[in-house]
Every structure is written in structure tokens, then in C-alpha cells.
């Protein structure tokens, strides 16, 4: 024993072993340094942008004291408290997700519908949604479901085509109703349908009917209230049915059914309340807050070239959202279809296999092609060949769609590949056809991965500048785009333009503030991706 210990000691003490260990340590230090270089430079960059945007040094000490008292202390205390109790933490996270998500979705819906004309949106939504809903309802009752799947798809397409064909006749008829009623059709009805489905699945149809009636009556009450108060009821209607209803549903459900965690739903309200309290005290005491460039007028005004504090980016923001929205409608079905085909259908051998390999190599390479080249492609295709005109929404959406197509294909293929083969074999073993296996096993399992890849591609597309310059997308407009063939402005172009403004308030204030807006938009998209992925991950594994 003693001699063994001595030999081990000798071994540890030998120069070779020590050198070997030193090498290991040095390698580890090099890895830490490599990690830190990236993180530290990003932190410095974002810190710099945030510093320029919010101008923290212009605020007085009292302002900081007020907000430490009203905002930081209670929120931090609540968060610490929630972290200690897992059920409360979970309820807290759920409340934050539903409040943030519902507000975001309803605001974006309102902004986009408002830009595109709510009546048009209503027309297409009704014609696109009612036929499949009717078929779906029929399928629930009928035992024979062979044709319902294809019929849902076909009826949606036919409905939209009908709406487009009969547009000239129907649009004046739809135009009779007040604008807010159109929003009831766009927002309240789908929300009501989702609530009804969820309630009927969990409790009974009777309760579902009650819930839908409550939603409709509540929306009507809000609209009537707004009309009486002399406010245009559209936004209140959208906010009530798009945000208040789902928030109320989730929060109420948590409070009623999760007695252990119910206190957690207070989290977002603590945050909102303390911000409001801080703002109230700030207003009444009259202290000097920071002269931030990220103001409501930046978000809601249109561009002003002379006064930095009046400059706004609303049309550019809406333009970017509309372009990226249409882009996803164009690109995702194509990309996901291609990925499923390449991954699930193509055989590995024979001339088809070789063709598929060639295709895959090309797609992987296309993912790295500089975006300017896609701009030239868009110019050649949409302007010179199809004659759509330069800088219209559909040209911009199509060009960006080409840009993200390979990225989405590659990520969707990756997601499909990660589904274990044993699942497919098990499905085949039970007699399922390839289509049935795909529909019920493979795609649901791969869905979170596909979704993550696609939303990251969206985030990439919204920041693209070079291809938009080439196809002459506008830098500045004063109105939001109102259709596929209307011209739109894009946010990154306005950032680029403001960068060469002679007034330093633009270069060092408005530019970082707009960059922060773009970053927040991107972060919100990424957060949505993560939340959806987590949700579906849980659904498929439980």
C-alpha cells in the first residue's frame, strides 16, 4: 500500500505528467478566452448601442431612486420569491408568456390589418376560413374521413380564389359595415373559436357556448362603450378580444385550477403596476428622466428629417412586418415541402438519388450566397421578367423568400433527420402508409425543430438590407403599404439613411434607437420560436 502510494506520487510528480497536465490547462484557458472574446465584444457593442439610445447619464439621481424603489425592488423581490417555489415560478412564466404574446399578436394583427385595409382582410379571412371550418365540423360527425383532409386544403384555396374573383362585387357590400365590425370578424371570431375548442375539450360544449357568448357580449360591450365615449372602437375591440380574453382565460384558469402556483400570475401585474407607479411619481414630483431616443413618437410618427425628436419609423416598421409576413406565406410551404420530399421520399440510390444529392449540395451552397446576389435575382425576376415594378411588397417578399429558402430547407431537413428511425419503422409495422406515418408521426415529432429554423430565418430576413436596396424598396414613405402591389418602406434602409445624416442627434441617437427597435422585433420573434418549440416539445413527449 505504502509502496503503491509512493509510486503514484512519483508518477504524479514526473515531468511528463506535469507537462501533460499543463497542456490540458492551457487548452482550457484558450477555450475560455475564445468564448469570452465573442461574448465580451457583443456585450460592449450592445452596451454602446443601449447607452446611445437611452442616454442614461441625462437622468437625475432622484429618477433612479424612484425607479429603484417602485420598480426594481418589488419586481426583484417577487422574482426571488417565485424562483424558490417551482409551481409559482411556472405560473409566473406562463402569465408573462400569455400577456406578452397576446398583446404582441393583437397589436401586430391590428397594425397589419389597418395597413392593408380591414375590409379586405375580413373578406379573405372569411372566405378562406369558413369552408374548411364547415368541412371540419362535418368531418367530426361523419365516420368517413377519407376526403376531409384534402377537402380542407382545396376549400381554403377555392375560398380565397373566390374572394379574389368576386372582390369587385363583395368589397362594396362588406364596406357597408363599420370598421370595428370587420375587426370582430378578423380577431374576435377566431379567438372565440379557439376558446370554444379549448373549453369544449376540457369541460363541455355547454360551457364552450357560454364562453363564446361571454366573449362576444364582452366585445360588443367594449365597442358600445367606445362608441359612447366617442373613441374609434377598432383598437379597443382588437385589444379586448385579442389580448384581454386570452389573458383572462389563462390567468383565470391558473388561479382556479392551480392552487399552489396561483400567486405566480401576479408577476406581470407587479411589473406593470410598478412601472405605472414609478411613472406617476415621476410625473407628480417632476424629476429629470433620461432623454431617451426610444420614444412613443419614434414608434408612431413618420420620418422627419430635421428634428430628431419628431422622427418616427411607423411606416417602415409596418412595411418590414408586412414584407416578412408575405415572405413567410410564400417561402415556408415551398421550403418545408422540399425538405420533406428530399428527406422522406427520395430514394438513396439510382439516378433519382444522385439528382437529390446534387440538389442537396446546391441548396447547402445557396444558403451561403451573398444577399446582394439575391437582390439581383429579385430585380431580374420580379422587375424585368414579371414586370411587377420596383420596390413593391410582393417583389420584396419574393426576393427575401428566395434568400431564406435554402436556410429553411436545410434546417427543416435537419429536424426531420433527427426523428429516430425506430418511430418510422414502428408506424410502418402497424400498417401505416408513408403519408400516414409522415402526418401522424414524423412531422409532429419534427415540428418544433422546423418551427425554430423557420422563425430564425424570419429574424434573418427582417434585418436584410442589401437585396432591398437593389430592388429599390423605399427608404421613406409616410403611409403603410396597403396591398401586395403597393410600395413599402423597410426599417433597415431608414437606419442606413439616417446614418449619413449631418446632425449628430440622428447618427448617435436615432440610429441606435431604431437599431434597438429592430433588435427588439427580432428578439420577440426568437422568443416566440422558443416558446412554441417548448410547448410542442412538451405536447409530443407527454
Amino acid at each position: 500500500m505504502a509502496s503503491g502510494g509512493a509510486s503514484v506520487d512519483r508518477l504524479h510528480g514526473s515531468t511528463d505528467v506535469r507537462l501533460e497536465r499543463l497542456k490540458g490547462r492551457l487548452f482550457e484557458i484558450a477555450l475560455v478566452a475564445a468564448t469570452l472574446v465573442g461574448i465580451v465584444s457583443l456585450v460592449v457593442l450592445f452596451g454602446y448601442i443601449a447607452f446611445d439610445t437611452f442616454q442614461p447619464l441625462t437622468a437625475s439621481i432622484q429618477w433612479y431612486l424612484i425607479y429603484i424603489g417602485t420598480l426594481v425592488t418589488p419586481t426583484a423581490a417577487f422574482t426571488l420569491y417565485a424562483r424558490r417555489h417551482p409551481p409559482i415560478r411556472e405560473a409566473n412564466a406562463k402569465a408573462f408568456a400569455v400577456i406578452g404574446g397576446a398583446l404582441l399578436v393583437s397589436l401586430v394583427t391590428y397594425i397589419v390589418a389597418d395597413a392593408l385595409d380591414p375590409y379586405d382582410v375580413l373578406l379573405y379571412v372569411l372566405f378562406g376560413a369558413i369552408p374548411p371550418a364547415v368541412i371540419g365540423a362535418y368531418a367530426r360527425r361523419s365516420p368517413d374521413r377519407t376526403y376531409t383532409g384534402p377537402a380542407v386544403v382545396v376549400s381554403t384555396l377555392v375560398g380565397i380564389a373566390l374572394a379574389a374573383g368576386l372582390y369587385g362585387v363583395l368589397r362594396p357590400i362588406v364596406g357597408i359595415i363599420a370598421q370595428w365590425v370587420a375587426y370582430v370578424g378578423i380577431v374576435t371570431l377566431p379567438v372565440g373559436a379557439i376558446v370554444a375548442q379549448s373549453v369544449s375539450r376540457r369541460w363541455s360544449l355547454r360551457r364552450a357556448a357560454l364562453a363564446v357568448a361571454l366573449v362576444l357580449v364582452g366585445t360588443l360591450a367594449v365597442a358600445v362603450g367606445a362608441l359612447v365615449a366617442g373613441i374609434e372602437p377598432s383598437l379597443p375591440v382588437v385589444l379586448f378580444s385579442g389580448a384581454v380574453v386570452p389573458i383572462g382565460y389563462v390567468v383565470g384558469d391558473t388561479v382556479a385550477n392551480e392552487p399552489e402556483g396561483r400567486i405566480g400570475v401576479l408577476g406581470p401585474f407587479v411589473l406593470i403596476g410598478s412601472v405605472a407607479l414609478g411613472a406617476f411619481i415621476e410625473r407628480s414630483v417632476g424629476v429629470q428622466g433620461p432623454e431617451s431616443y426610444l420614444t412613443p413618437s419614434l414608434l408612431l410618427n413618420s420620418w422627419h428629417g430635421r428634428n430628431a425628436f419628431e422622427a418616427g419609423i411607423y411606416p417602415q416598421l409596418v412595411g418590414s412586418i408586412v414584407i416578412v409576413g408575405f415572405m413567410s406565406l410564400l417561402a415556408f410551404p415551398v421550403a418545408i415541402g422540399a425538405a420533406v420530399y428530399l428527406e422522406e421520399y427520395v430514394s438513396d440510390s439510382g439516378w433519382r438519388g444522385r439528382l437529390a444529392t446534387l440538389l442537396e449540395v446546391n441548396i447547402s451552397n445557396l444558403a451561403g450566397v451573398p444577399s446582394v446576389v439575391y437582390g439581383l435575382l429579385g430585380l431580374a425576376l420580379f422587375r424585368n421578367t414579371l414586370g411587377f415594378g420596383t420596390g413593391v411588397v410582393i417583389a420584396a417578399a419574393g426576393t427575401l423568400g428566395f434568400l431564406i429558402l435554402p436556410i429553411v430547407i436545410v434546417s427543416a431537413q435537419e429536424a426531420l433527420r433527427s426523428v429516430p428511425d425506430s418511430l418510422r419503422q414502428a408506424a410502418y409495422g402497424m400498417g401505416a402508409s408513408r403519408w400516414q406515418t409522415l402526418r401522424t408521426v414524423v412531422i409532429p415529432e419534427a415540428f418544433p425543430g422546423i418551427l425554430t429554423g423557420t422563425i430564425l430565418a424570419l429574424a434573418r430576413a427582417i434585418g436584410e438590407t442589401a437585396p432591398l436596396v437593389i430592388i429599390a424598396v423605399a427608404t421613406t414613405t409616410y403611409t403603410s403599404p396597403d396591398g401586395l402591389f403597393s410600395t413599402a418602406a423597410a426599417l433597415p434602409l431608414q437606419i442606413f439613411a439616417a446614418r449619413s445624416h449631418p446632425d449628430p442627434a440622428f447618427r448617435h441617437g436615432i440610429v441606435p434607437a431604431t437599431a434597438v427597435v429592430l433588435l427588439i422585433l427580432m428578439l420577440m420573434m426568437n422568443t416566440t420560436a422558443i416558446l412554441l418549440r417548448n410547448r410542442y416539445d412538451r405536447d409530443t413527449h407527454e
Binding site: A196, V224, L379, R383, G391, A474, T487, P502
Partner: protein, 334 residues
């Protein structure tokens, strides 16, 4: 299974009934309250106006279009910054834009290409952009420079190494030169006016797209020299020191709006915009906008807030004459 579907049938019928009543009530209420929907501000002008071209003229076009849009909310503007040549080639000549901004006059080939596409470009000379030659704030040996010396400094034929090579009273220190990148219209104008041939310049200067970087470069080196748009200099006067310019035997002139407007300052670049005459004849709102534009172009804000040299009264008169000729289809570019 059968029992379930019966239940769902009976209840869903009730749901259907309830929701039909609710939707009906909603729709009815909506119809009744539609008297507030009218949205007319008594302004007959409506339509789109697309403005492409030079990023130098963009601030003027942006500001004037914003003012016009405030009074005529149904007119939609669309402004792109593609550069003078890019705007002509990609957007204006194919007939996509109504107006193309240019920081130089239109070239003969471009006029020909417009005519090949069956329209005449109508020229409007709206402002000037004075260039400022700047040196470091700690530079105490030069306050004024002649165009001839500038040519000697920037020309590739002489390309002096040190300040003393140009003037023996100046220090024997190497030049540190900053200017706009070769893609810029400012670069084209400077080389043509000072060096004598467009695009001809010594190759050891630091070219950049950003005026800010020129100013920072000159600020960072005591023996530096550069040139900038006057608008940038007036907004950032403390960063660098501007030189007065003389041409031949004339007295040195300080860079200023007044000097540029009177024609005494030798480095003032004309800024134009060109309108598509066919669209001008078709679109009433375009006529109104250009009328507003040319009449607004002699106002103080162009000098005070944008930093350009505004139109003189003579220029406004010429522009109005061109506009009327364009509306009547009689304009011919020469």
C-alpha cells in the same frame, strides 16, 4: 361513439344558434353605427409619387415631401436612395419613378435613353451643396488655400509627400488625406472641379462612405486634410477647422451659404431633380407637388436645417417656367 356524436350534435346546434344570434346582433349594431365612417378631408389630390436617386438630394426631397404630405394626406410618397446614376438607370429611365434626384446634371446618354422610352426628362435646379476643405483644429500654419494648391495636393501627377513640398512655409510633415469614396457624387464633383478630370485623384488617400469618418480621421491627425459636404461641417463645426478658398488672384472666401449663393465660393455643387414629363402631364398631384417643391426651395430651412444653399429667385422662376412647359408637354431638354 354514436352516443357522443348525438350529444355533440344537439349542443353544437345550440351553439350555432347562439353564435348566429350574437353575430347577427353584432353585424346589426355595426350597420347602424356606420355614420362615422366617412373619411374625407376635402382634398381632391390623391395618388402615388415615387422619388428615386441621389442620397445627397434625399434630405431636401424628404423634408419637402413630408410638408406636402401633411396637407395632402391621400398622396403617398415613396423615396429611395439609389445614388444619381443608380436612380436614373434602374428606376427613372425604365419609367418606374416620377422624379429622380441628381447631384449632377443628367448625361446626354441618359437623356437619349429617356427619349428611347418615349418620355422627356424635365430639369429642375433646386439647390447647391457647398464643399468644405477641412484640416485639423491644431493646424496653425494654414487658414486659407487656393484651388491651385488644392489641385497640386490631390492630383496624382504631383502627389506631394509633405506639406513643405507644396509651400516651403508649411511644415515638413507628410500629408494624411481623407475624402469620400470613389462611388460618391461628392468625389466626382471634387475631382472634376479641383483636379480637372472626373475620377482622377492620387491613390493614397483614405476614402470612406461616411462623412463622419472623414471628420474623425481629420480630427485624429494634426497633418491631415480632407473635404466634406458643407451640411456636415455646419452641424459639427467644432470637430475640424474649415479653410477659406481662393481661386486665382481673388480674395479668399469663407465657406458659407451666402458666398455659395452669390457664386463667389468656388466649390458649390448644383443639385437637381428630373421629372418624367409623361407622368407630369398625367398626374395632377405630381404637378401640385413640384409646384410646391420649387416654390419652397428658396426658403430658409434649406440653409438652416439641411445645410444646403437654397434656390435663388431666378432659379425659382426658371423652375416654374420648366414646370409649366412640362405640364403642357412642350419641354425639351438641351
Amino acid at each position: 361513439m354514436a352516443y357522443d356524436s348525438n350529444v355533440s350534435e344537439s349542443v353544437s346546434r345550440r351553439t350555432l344558434l347562439a353564435s348566429t344570434v350574437a353575430i347577427g346582433a353584432t353585424a346589426l349594431a355595426g350597420c347602424l353605427s356606420d355614420s362615422t365612417g366617412a373619411n374625407t378631408d376635402g382634398d381632391s389630390l390623391s395618388g402615388d409619387i415615387r422619388i428615386s436617386g441621389s442620397s445627397t438630394v434625399y434630405p431636401v426631397a424628404q423634408d419637402i415631401s413630408r410638408q406636402f404630405q401633411e396637407d395632402h394626406s391621400d398622396v403617398n410618397f415613396n423615396l429611395t436612395r439609389d445614388g444619381s446614376s443608380g436612380g436614373f438607370e434602374n428606376v427613372f429611365i425604365p419609367g418606374d419613378s416620377d422624379i429622380n434626384n441628381a447631384s449632377r446634371s443628367i448625361a446626354d446618354e441618359e437623356v437619349q435613353q429617356c427619349r428611347d422610352n418615349d418620355f422627356e426628362p424635365v430639369e429642375f435646379f433646386i439647390a447647391q451643396d457647398a464643399l468644405t476643405v477641412v484640416v485639423n483644429n491644431e493646424n496653425d500654419w494654414v487658414d486659407s488655400i487656393s484651388i491651385e494648391d488644392l489641385k497640386k495636393i490631390w492630383s496624382p501627377d504631383s502627389a506631394p509627400e509633405t506639406w513643405a513640398d507644396v509651400n516651403s512655409e508649411w511644415p515638413d510633415e507628410p500629408f494624411d488625406l481623407y475624402g469620400p469614396a470613389t462611388t460618391s457624387g461628392t468625389f466626382d464633383y471634387f475631382t472634376e472641379t479641383v483636379v480637372g478630370e472626373e475620377g482622377k485623384i492620387r491613390d493614397d488617400f483614405e476614402g470612406t462612405e461616411e462623412d463622419d469618418q472623414i471628420a474623425q480621421g481629420v480630427k485624429g491627425s494634426q497633418h491631415a486634410m480632407g473635404y466634406l459636404p458643407f451640411a456636415y461641417y455646419t452641424n459639427n463645426p467644432d470637430t475640424v477647422k474649415a479653410l477659406t478658398l481662393s481661386e486665382g488672384d481673388s480674395d479668399p472666401v469663407e465657406p458659407s451659404i451666402e458666398a455659395a449663393q452669390s457664386g463667389d465660393y468656388p466649390l458649390a455643387r448644383p443639385l437637381y431633380f428630373y421629372a418624367n414629363m409623361n407622368k407630369l402631364q398625367e398626374k395632377e398631384h405630381l404637378q401640385e407637388f413640384i409646384r410646391f417643391y420649387v416654390n419652397e426651395a428658396d426658403k430658409d430651412f434649406i440653409a438652416n436645417d439641411i445645410g444646403y444653399v437654397p434656390s435663388s429667385e431666378k432659379m425659382v422662376e426658371d423652375n416654374v417656367a420648366n414646370l409649366e412647359a412640362g405640364i403642357n408637354g412642350e419641354y425639351k431638354h438641351s
